[in-house]
């Protein structure tokens, strides 16, 4: 009815309505958003800025530097980049990400997703349930299970393999945590890939079969080009999660002899055990930068595909 009356009288409210669809007005609309913004500021923005600040100080958990931290500039960063322990830890993290995320979870997830398409429904349901179970169990529970599995004296793995007295966590600490993380996280890749595989048009696969393409050729020429975006998204997510994963600490605590001390564990050890909060924070920030670089690389690759 407003539309049928004379236009000049209605111009003002109409213009106001155009600026916010709900017709609340700016002040009232802001009032709805403020609580959320306050929470974000307290729990996200402030810690981030605090980290930035701490990384530039010699702040410690105890002692004089805890009471009166001093500004040390980029000293923490220079020290980290020269610290062989940090570089070792960075290298181990790279191994951990490539081993458990890229190779372990991604490839095993794809193989599972592809294989489960061809098996009877019952078998698929059972396997999927088990894989999902590994995913939804809390990390602490899974870590305890693996400690029990790999136990030197009464571990299940030793009993199965017939290698009594084998101390897996001491002999192969990296391999142990890589297997642990693969076991724990494969479900995500499997679910993502089974959704992706459903999107591959059957007629294209059948066309490839009709001209005699082998299984590998079908995968390379039909399946992979279709799911490339899914593969990249999956790799991005699981690399970031794995890069920041602290759960291996529950199994090896970075040991023995720092041989499984990935970066999250290194940060924890430096900041909490050694009490060097400033140094630990600086490394957290370095991790954040590495995460950003990873994300940018993947997103670039994704965009390339769309153009």
């Amino acid at each position: 009815m407003a539309l049928t009356t004379s236009p000049p009288a209605d111009l003002a409210p109409a213009r106001e309505a155009a600026t916010d669809a709900a017709g609340l007005g700016r002040v009232r609309a802001s009032a709805f958003v403020v609580p959320a913004l306050v929470l974000i500021a307290i729990f996200l923005v402030y810690p981030a800025l605090w980290t930035l600040y701490l990384g530039l100080t010699n702040y410690r958990l105890t002692g004089i530097a805890a009471a009166r931290p001093q500004f040390v500039g980029l000293d923490n960063y220079v020290r980290a980049l020269r610290d062989p322990e940090f570089l070792n830890s960075l290298w181990l993290t790279l191994l951990y990400v490539i081993g458990s995320a890229v190779i372990g979870q991604s490839i095993l997830g794809f193989v599972l997703a592809a294989t489960l398409r061809t098996v009877p429904r019952v078998v698929r349901g059972v396997v999927e349930a088990f894989v999902m179970l590994a995913w939804i169990l809390p990390s602490s529970v899974v870590a305890f299970l693996w400690i029990a599995l790999l136990d030197r004296d009464s571990g299940t793995v030793n009993a199965l393999l017939g290698t009594p007295g084998m101390a897996w966590l001491l002999e192969y600490p990296m391999l142990s945590i890589i297997v642990f993380n693969t076991w724990r996280g494969t479900a995500f890749s499997m679910l993502l890939f089974s959704a992706a595989l459903n999107a591959v048009p059957p007629s294209q696969l059948e066309t490839a079969r009709m001209v005699g393409a082998s299984g590998w050729q079908q995968l390379r020429d039909v399946v992979f080009p279709h799911i490339r975006g899914h593969v990249l998204t999956n790799l991005l997510l699981i690399s970031l999660w794995t890069f920041n994963d602290f759960a291996p600490y529950l199994i090896t605590a970075g040991g023995p002899d720092n041989r499984s001390e990935i970066l999250p564990v290194f940060v924890y050890e430096s900041a909490i055990f050694d009490g060097q909060l400033g140094f630990g924070t600086a490394i957290s920030l370095l991790m954040l930068l590495i995460n950003l670089v990873l994300a940018v690389v993947y997103l670039r690759l994704l965009r390339e595909r769309r153009s």
Partner: protein, 378 residues
């Protein structure tokens, strides 16, 4: 070049559903063969079984005399064009057409030359560097055809080749496909649910229902003498008039009218037997005055069909209330709605079916060797 022979072919799904039920069929070398039927009749399953994409559960498939029943799809020397064309979206048209040759390990320059030559023949010349997404529906179809043609198969299989095109393009593509098939002379089987497509394109066609073939013949045979009421109701752009009838000595009582019993049908019909009287709307004429052999009714609907109109007459009586008889009338002779009319069937075009199983009167079951045309003898 090869013929296709199917021997007692069975495709049974787990749970006992038979999509193809003991089917025998021979398709001659170079023939353009249509599999026609309503959805769920097994025609696509049959095509996919020939392709090797479905594993048959019984019987044999022979192509050019070679038993291919157990062979993988790639080893059968067949090319298939899918309903959605199945072009690879990430490859250019050139790479799509050359793909089968690449799988056969032909070198890049050769296969590209071959692809270009084939594309040229299908007027895709300027589109080789495009992706399928940049092509129109008709161009996509030709690209899919080019991919099938480029590898010189013994047999082509087309699954609903025209259904993804709009109506105007469909007519063009129909002519185009028919010419292409004639030029190449490759044995071709195509599946369609559109009777007009099957009639227009095929050399021979099979009408399928519930996993079995109900009739095989040339389009003319199937159109003029459907073997059963099922085929009769399925074929033709206007459905055939099917009316309950009863034989009464040498006459036939249909919709309140008594017609002479067609002489040829006489020996096959018992006195008092229930039959179905069938005549196409195109083979009936509408009269405004009473006709002794006319079925009387009231004009209920007149549908303009461009050339002429389709008139629906409401015929009173019958067990299930009023029945409809449809008649086509020439341009300019449309009757008034509500007026009376008499529909007279051309006697030589009248067909009689048995009421119980819907089979054509005078077909093999009746014991007569040659099926007879149930023409009325007046």
């Amino acid at each position: 070049m090869a013929d296709i022979e199917l021997r007692r072919l069975v495709k049974e799904y787990p749970g006992g559903v038979r999509a193809v039920d003991g089917l025998d069929l021979t398709i001659a070398d170079g023939e353009f063969f249509a599999l026609l039927g309503p959805s769920g009749c097994g025609k696509t399953t049959l095509l996919r079984s020939i392709a090797g994409l479905e594993t048959v559960t019984g019987g044999h498939i022979l192509i050019g005399g070679r038993d291919v029943t157990g062979l993988a799809p790639g080893a059968r020397d067949i090319a298939m064009v899918f309903q959605d064309y199945a072009l690879f979206p990430h490859m250019t048209v050139r790479d799509n057409i050359a793909y089968p040759l690449r799988i056969r390990k032909m070198g890049r320059p050769e296969r590209h030359a071959k692809a270009e030559e084939t594309a040229e023949g299908l007027s895709l010349g300027g589109l080789l560097d495009r992706r399928p997404g940049q092509l129109s529906g008709g161009q996509q179809q030709r690209a899919a055809l080019a991919r099938a043609v480029a590898c010189h198969p013994k047999v082509f299989l087309f699954d609903e080749p025209l259904s993804n095109l709009d109506a105007r393009l469909r007519l063009e593509a129909r002519t185009f496909l028919k010419r292409l098939q004639r030029d190449l002379g490759v044995t071709t089987v195509f599946v369609t649910h559109d009777q007009a497509e099957a009639l227009a394109m095929s050399d021979r066609m099979a009408v399928m229902d519930a996993g079995r073939i109900r009739q095989i013949g040339t389009p003319t045979e199937v159109f003029q003498r459907p073997a059963s009421t099922f085929v009769a109701s399925f074929i033709g752009s206007t459905p055939m008039n099917l009316l309950d009838a009863v034989a009464d000595r040498d006459t036939l009582r249909v919709a309140g009218t008594t017609l002479p019993l067609p002489a040829a049908a006489g020996p096959h019909v018992r006195d008092g037997e229930k039959l179905v009287f069938a005549a196409r709307p195109e083979y009936m004429t509408l009269h405004r005055e009473a006709e002794p052999t006319g079925i009387e009714g009231v004009v209920a609907i007149v549908e303009n069909m461009g050339v002429g109109s389709l008139v629906s007459l409401e015929v009173p009586g019958g067990a299930d209330g009023a029945r409809i008889v449809q008649v086509t009338v020439p341009e300019g002779q449309e009757p008034e709605i509500g007026s009376r009319g008499w529909a007279v069937a051309a006697p030589e075009r009248v067909l009689l079916y048995r009421h119980d199983d819907g089979e054509l009167v005078g077909s093999e079951r009746a014991g007569a060797g040659e099926p007879v045309l149930a023409g009325a003898g007046d």
